[in-house]
Every structure is written in C-alpha cells, then in structure tokens.
C-alpha cells in the first residue's frame, strides 16, 4: 500500500568511483531505469533518508547501463551540495531515483553518427556511443576539454581514428574546440561516405550555438541534449522552459520544457538567438 511507484523509488547505490579529479561515476541498482532508459534520458536523484535541504532531486543524464546487473550509471561533477552528497555516497546507501525522464536521441535513421561534446554534459554521449555501436552504427566521438586527461573514460575508447580529443591548450589531441575538431577531422570524411549521417551534441550552450551555426548550411540532422536547472523533471513546474522557433505541439507557445519536451531536441526547434548562454 505504501510502495513507491516503479518510476520513483528508493534505489541502492552499488558503487561510487572517482574517475578524474572532477568526475564521479555512481552505479545504482534499478531494474526499471536499467531496462527502460534510452541514451539522452535522465533521472532525478536525491539522497535518502529524505532531507529537505537540499530539497530537490538533481537531474543527471544516464551514462550507461548494465541490464544483466539491473543497474545504471550516472556521471557527475560535484558542483553544489546535492552532487557533493552523491560523491560521498557509499555502496549500500540508498538514493531516491525518479526516471528515466525526458526524450532520448534517435539514431535509427543513420548508418553513421558523429557525437560532439564538452563540459559536464557529455554523459549521454557515452551512452549513445555504446548503444549505437551495439546496433552496428559507425560512431565518431569528438570531445573537448581543457586537457585531454581531464576527460573520463578516454582509455575505454580504443585509440582509433574515430575518437578525437580537442584541448584548449593543445597538450594532446586537436588544438582547439570540439566543433573545430569535428570540422577538421571528421566532417569531410563522413560527407564523402554518402551514407545517412546524423550529428549529436551535448555540452555548453556556446559550443552548441557554434555547432548550430557551422552546420546550418550543411543540411545535416543535428540533435542536441540541453541542461537546465530543474525542480520537477516532468514538465509540471515550468521552471526549465526555453525559447523555441516552432509552436509547442500541445500548448502552442513558442517554448519547450527542457525536462519533458527534451532534454534532447532537434536543433531546428530551439530559438538559439534567444537562448541564454548560461
């Protein structure tokens, strides 16, 4: 009678691993999230026993899943109190998980996909890369960072021609932005392959704006994953609304809720000029 719903319930922490000085991975047991998640979706997670400060769940994109173990993983950078508490969680602790939530990436129409990302929002790209590779797609991954060593999991990607790291200081990989790296190292090659190609991006808004502007003339499909401050994660609080170029299919406004209409959007839907950079 007092049971939680399958979608919002207590879940056991299996492991918390510090991947880099800035990145943590938390593995959580949840048959529902593990089975139901698609790349791009997120969960709202908060500590248990319930506390009122911090009050709200933190929206974190699913990094990956292990369906055999009924578990999923999240990637996060401790930035505020909510994520610092998560970083201090131990195996056996419980957390409250609501999800999976929102829209995911759709790569079904493409034979070859290019993933471009940077910053703390790159988690969904790893999940997307894993699922797309499992589906037999050719996957290019271009990630930007201050230094290549500050990216998690670089070791888990075989150092082939399809994984590129772009760094601000040029210490490793391409010297420049992820968007520049994509154009210098990947764009020409995928264009010459004459196969259906899709672009997928996750990262800071200025990076996305640069990518949108640079790809506008290419006539290529671009799906982006946005981050936003959220309260509910399910479209009811209207806290994470962003400007859109087309009317909302249900409500008619020129807006979208990042949580419920996204976080993955076709880039052509978003009004990038009016979208704040932060």
């Amino acid at each position: 009678m007092h049971a939680d719903s399958a979608k919002a319930s207590a879940a056991r922490v299996l492991d918390v691993i510090r991947l880099t000085p800035a990145h943590f991975r938390i593995d959580i047991e949840s048959e529902h999230v593990s089975a139901a998640s698609i790349p791009g979706q997120f969960v709202m997670v908060r500590p248990l026993p319930a506390v009122t400060d911090p009050l709200l769940g933190r929206p974190l994109a699913v990094l990956g899943r292990d369906t055999a173990a009924s578990s999923f993983s999240l990637l996060f950078t401790p930035a505020g109190r909510g994520t610092r508490i998560l970083a201090e969680a131990a195996p056996g602790d419980t957390v409250h998980v609501n999800g999976p939530l929102g829209t995911g990436f759709d790569f079904s129409a493409f034979d070859e996909i290019a993933l471009i990302g940077g910053g703390t929002g790159i988690a969904p790209l790893y999940f997307l890369a894993a699922e797309a590779r499992a589906a037999g797609k050719t996957v290019h991954l271009v990630l930007g960072a201050r230094t290549c060593d500050s990216l998690p999991f670089t070791g888990s990607f075989s150092p082939d021609e399809r994984f590129h790291c772009a760094t601000d200081d040029g210490s490793r990989g391409f010297h420049g932005s992820a968007v520049d790296a994509f154009f210098h190292l990947v764009a020409d090659r995928i264009a010459s392959n004459r196969r259906p190609v899709g672009l997928f991006a996750a990262g800071p808004v200025p990076m996305m704006k640069a990518l949108v502007s640079a790809t506008r003339e290419m006539g290529i499909s671009l799906q982006v994953s946005l981050e936003a401050r959220m309260a509910c994660g399910i479209g009811v609080c209207r806290g994470c609304v962003i400007p859109a170029r087309t009317p909302h299919p249900l409500y008619g406004h020129l807006t979208r809720a990042v949580c419920a209409d996204g976080p993955v959007f076709d880039a052509s839907v978003i009004d990038w000029e009016r979208l704040p950079d932060v």
Binding site: H2, D53, L55, L56, N98, M230, I234, V236
Partner: protein, 286 residues
Amino acid sequence: MTASGTFGFGIEFMEYGDISALGAVVTKSITLEPRAGNEPPRIYETPSGMLNSIGLENPGLEFFKEKILPQVVSAGATMVVNIAGESPDEYGEIAGELSADDGIAALEVNAGCPNVDRGGMTFGRDPGMLADLVAAVCASTELPIIAKLTPNVADIVPLVEAAGRAGASAVTVMNTLLGMSVDVRKRVPHIKRGKAGLSGPAIRPVAVRMAFEAAQTGVPVVGAGGISDLDSAMQFFLVGARAVEVGTWNFADPAFIFRLPGLISDFLEQQGETNLGAYIGSLKSG
C-alpha cells in the same frame, strides 16, 4: 489535494499513482488567454525551499476545456480548477465557462500570485477587493469556491472573513511567501524578475501559523505550505485545517502524495482516532 502549480493538470502524475484516489487534483492556474510565462531563470533552490517566478504559464481556458480537462476527468480524478485573471470580471468570465457538467468539483481562486504585473496578489491583500473578486466568481458559477490566499499580508484573518462572507466555501492558506535571492558575485538576482514566491518546508511554520489563525474564524481551511511528510501534513489538521495540499514536495517525490492518505489512516489508528474529523482542530494548549 494537490497544490496548484505543482501537479500540472494531474495527467503528468498518472505514472506515479492513481489520481482518482487523491482528495482532489488542483490544476495549475488557468487564465482566459494562453500565457507564455516569465523570462528565465524562473526557479532557484534555497535552504529547504525554492523560489519560483513562473508567471502563470498555461495554455488558456479554451485549450484546457477542450483538450486537457476531458483527459483528467476520464481518469476519475476529483477536479478542482484553479483560476487566475486580471480583474474580477475576468475571473467571473472564466468561472462562467466551468461547471459541474464538465466534471469539475470546485474552483480555487488564485488571489495571491506574486509573479504577475496585473491582478494576482493585489486582490488578496485588501479585504474589500478580495470580497468583490470572490463575489464575482460566485455569481458566475454554481460550483463551490475556494479562495487561495496570499500570506504577504500583516493579518490574514480579515481576508479569510471577507472571503467567507463573500461566498467562498473555503480558503486555502497559503500561497507562496514573497522572497528574493541574489548572486553576490554576478550581482544579479537569482530569478530574472528579482522577487519570487518562496515555497517548500522553509515556509511551513508560517503556513501552520496562518492556517491556525484562519481556522479560528470558522471558515473551512485548506492547509498548504511545505508539507513533505506525514507529520507536516498532520500539523495542518491539528491546527484546524479540514484538508491539506501537497505542493513543492511533489517535485522531490512525485509518488509521496499517493502514499499520504494511507499514512494518515495508519497515524489515526495509532492515535486511537476513528476518523480524521475528530483529530482536526484538537490542538491542546502548550
């Protein structure tokens, strides 16, 4: 009951529980015309609370009636439609379009939104204006009227009494407390409009105090403000509220409200009470 603005139109929560088992689903505020809401940022978390300045974003009355209401009613929910406007006439016009035939049980009049330029909180701060507003709504509909009051007043009692005299069947105490938070490094407000409504457990003692004062008038009170667990819900009943609304906590745990009726039954049994009515207002002096 669900607090307006924290539960969408109810359909968004059907994955988390049976909305027909709730006391009532109170919708987001409906206005005559669609509203796109305020510029972001609209929300900011504060200690045990959150600030919001959504600005009554909603699809408007016509769309609500045609596309949303039938879905919620067919799910079996007891529907309370929260309405907002810029003048008593406008509130009355909306109320006139909503009736029991549509499957609506009551209307909640938002007389306290702090986040709009016109209407909103101004009605809820003056007993005369509030009475005119409630009377205009009552004249337009046969449905029971609940007046949702703002706490941003020196004394809530004259407002509760004015709403009751003007025909409100009950008052909801309370809407959000007006608040503000600023970024000391960027030197800008955390919310685009600056001031915003504070909700969540941080405001609970204020809400309990105001519900207590309101209940003394004899006007039926719906208690709302920072309920996040069984005990906080029971506090409102103990000081005299006849019903409670869960608000911001729906964001933290969307399944909690569906557990609450069962938790209340268990609690009453432990307290040796046969029904909730006997517990309501049974506060002893310290």
